[in-house]
Symmetry: C2
Subunit: 443 residues, 2 copies
């Protein structure tokens, strides 16, 4: 198993209390992460602003609590970093947009406050695709974030910095946001767990909106258990008991073009799950058009994002890239009927899929139709076709590492109906999947 050589980093979130019991202090843990950020971050540019002094103070306070036997939660002392569209008091809250370069957050976002209340150590903010509207994380303002598994390759996005930082062991876990797949997609490309709880399960107060219809806050972590612990600290329900219903695998024939390596690996993954005793049934959903759904989600994001940023767009248009300005301007030119039709497609898909999937414990797909690709190659249009489904359904969804193709991670998406069920399912499914590989340069 190619894991982290430092037991502190290998412990992730859930493994830390055992280290504390063995005499390691939360201060040692935070120092280990700060040291790695200093040494390793320049190669991948995942971390964009660090609060080393604040993190050290929080680590010392956590150490006192553990020594007194009064930790605030199971994640007390865990070093966590957050995407740059989530407000951290005193740090720049840019959402990856140059126009907000001097927008220092006056207060923590609700989810950051919840993490601090649970004792987590907030390390700083992470790279992201500009405005969370895009999936390469080739950000001219914050710098291009690299995939830790291969230089010159995208980590995915929009929460690319979050996934890359977790994969590279620069934090124990990270928060991201997910409007059409922005937590799960980079988790897939970087070989980490991505968990987008149900709509509204983590509050979005203090998070720069892209689309209030589709935005979710989510977690990147090294295991499903770690992700669930961090989500629970942000107010999400704890795991439920599984009820024995079978899993459905969405019949993707004609719906989305999978890369051969993804298709082959997905078939192997289903075989492994079946061998592990899971009942899996193929589910064909007629009239489902994933491309149309993605375009509807994109149109809604362009319109809603344009409303969200309209003041800054008027005051400082040069603070947005021409690409982003053009997307937001396109949204503003639509008729209300066209926008209404986009919302309609979302609402009708929600109704249809909720109805046909009721007999199943969860829905399985690959997380992305491809693995990470080179920055200098073409950007596939269908990157978010499978993840967007989870946003449209407002349902909890996990991306679970599930093998690799020539060293580039592949991933299994699991959509369920309640967060309790999603967490229980993800933890159990992960037992039958190959362990994630730590990128060589970061072990």
């Amino acid at each position: 198993m190619a894991g982290f050589s430092d037991p502190i980093i290998a412990a992730g979130v859930a493994g830390l209390p055992a280290l504390y019991a063995a005499g390691v202090s939360p201060v040692d843990v935070t120092e280990a992460y700060l040291d790695r950020i200093e040494r390793l971050n320049p190669a991948i540019k995942a971390v964009v602003e660090l609060d080393a002094a604040g993190a050290r103070a929080e680590a010392r306070a956590s150490a006192l609590r553990w020594a007194a036997g009064t930790p605030l939660s199971p994640i007390d002392g865990a070093p966590i970093a957050v995407k740059a569209n989530i407000a951290v008091e005193g740090l720049v809250h840019s959402a990856g947009i140059k126009a907000y370069a001097r927008n220092v957050a006056p207060a923590d976002a609700a989810c950051v406050a919840q993490l601090r209340a649970a004792g987590a150590v907030i390390l700083g903010t992470l790279n992201m695709h500009e405005a969370a509207l895009g999936a390469t994380n080739d950000n001219v303002f914050l710098g291009r974030c690299e995939n830790p598994h291969r230089a010159g390759f995208t980590p995915g996005g929009s929460s690319g910095g979050s996934a890359a930082a977790v994969a590279a062991g620069l934090c124990a876990a990270a928060l991201g946001t997910d409007t059409m797949g922005s937590v799960r997609l980079p988790s897939s490309y970087c070989g980490v767990v991505g968990y987008k709880p149900a709509l509204g399960a983590i509050a979005t107060d203090g998070v720069t909106a892209l689309s209030w219809t589709l935005d979710h806050v989510g977690v990147h972590a090294r295991s499903a258990t770690d992700a669930a612990l961090v989500a629970q600290a942000c107010g999400v329900d704890a795991p439920a008991t599984l009820d024995g219903r079978p899993l459905a695998v969405l019949d993707l024939d004609g719906l989305v073009k999978l890369e051969p390596a993804v298709a082959d690996n997905f078939a192997r993954t289903l075989d492994a799950l079946t061998a592990a005793g899971w009942r899996i049934e193929k589910l064909r959903i007629d009239d489902l058009d994933l491309g149309a759904l993605r375009r509807a989600g994109l149109l809604i994001s362009e319109v809603e994002g344009g409303v969200e940023h309209r003041r800054a767009l008027a005051l400082d248009p040069e603070g947005f890239t021409p690409e982003l300005r053009s997307l937001l301007a396109w949204g503003a030119r639509q008729t209300p009927a066209k926008l209404a039709e986009a919302y309609r497609l979302l609402a009708e898909t929600w109704r249809t899929i909720r109805a046909v999937t009721a007999p199943y414990a969860g829905l399985l797909t690959p997380t992305t139709p491809q693995h990470a690709f080179a920055f200098d190659g073409p950007v596939p249009a269908n990157q978010a076709d499978l993840t967007a489904l989870g946003n449209v359904l407002a349902a909890p969804a996990f991306a679970l590492p599930a093998g690799d193709a020539d060293g580039l991670p592949l991933s299994l998406q699991v959509i369920a109906w309640t967060d309790g069920a999603a967490q229980a399912l993800a933890a159990r499914l992960a037992e039958a999947l190959p362990p994630a590989t730590v990128p060589e340069a970061f072990r």
Copy 2:
């Protein structure tokens, strides 16, 4: 107690199996309702199209099943009528719009098919406000539907015919639709139970859309138990066990102007519930603007309704009243940013209220800020301010009869988070409320 003198009519839905056991046949039940429709409907114009032959055939089949001891469900044999925007095979599917006067439904709506599969007897279709966009049911095409409690008074809407038919004992229960309150509002004015299950809990296939964002199918019945049985036949979950959490009563001060009779009665209702052992806590939600929420819901309905009816509007503009044409044209003139802001208000309200109400078993308000009013008086603008909340929350909500003011019914709204909890809560709360009064002319 001022109930129906005929025990068959008094039995509602849940009381019918006991009558069958005592020798009454489903055929007798259907004949009793058909006879009442013939005698009593002309005064209120609740029923707009009758399928007497079909109903009699279904009643005979039900009688055979009960005689054989093989009923299809607890509602086998119950005579049910449905709002005119819900397709019933072979009957006109007009949605109360003259442009669709010759639109004979080629097949049943999904919910009607479910009712038939459960053995229900489908009597016919019911009056409604044109296009479900309005709440007086003063329909120039189908005729003005009267409130059974007082001639010249509105039954409310848009499902006015459904509520009036149930109140007048012209059917054992009825289906309606509810976009901003259209099941609960007329149930309030007519003194019957209105139950709008959670968004999507009853399929909307075969139902003329007003707003795919906010549309729900719901049930009008004479008791919470009857309403739950009919909803369950349409696929809604069965009652859950109550978990002992307290109820929240929404602090309406400054949010909506209640008629004095409504405010007084609501205070008495809360006293009665407290005396019956319920824990009720006042909940203040800052920044909640019910008027703005209603205007947002209306704008969305106008835009989405305009998209839904655009072909008919182009082909037969005279088939719509000038009032409806003007509302839909207003929707089509909005900017996408304005429409997006309306969806935003809905999404943000959903997030806020879901979060603050999590510690409560349910949320209580009066169902409407006023009781039924005269057709020749002004139409209050805020009629749906309290019910629209249930649609924005996508949450199950009941209207429960709760006394009267000078013979005009008053109603308690109960919003919960799952249909199982809503049904259990409504049934228990109803025990502490005064029994509904049958309008004198219909006893």
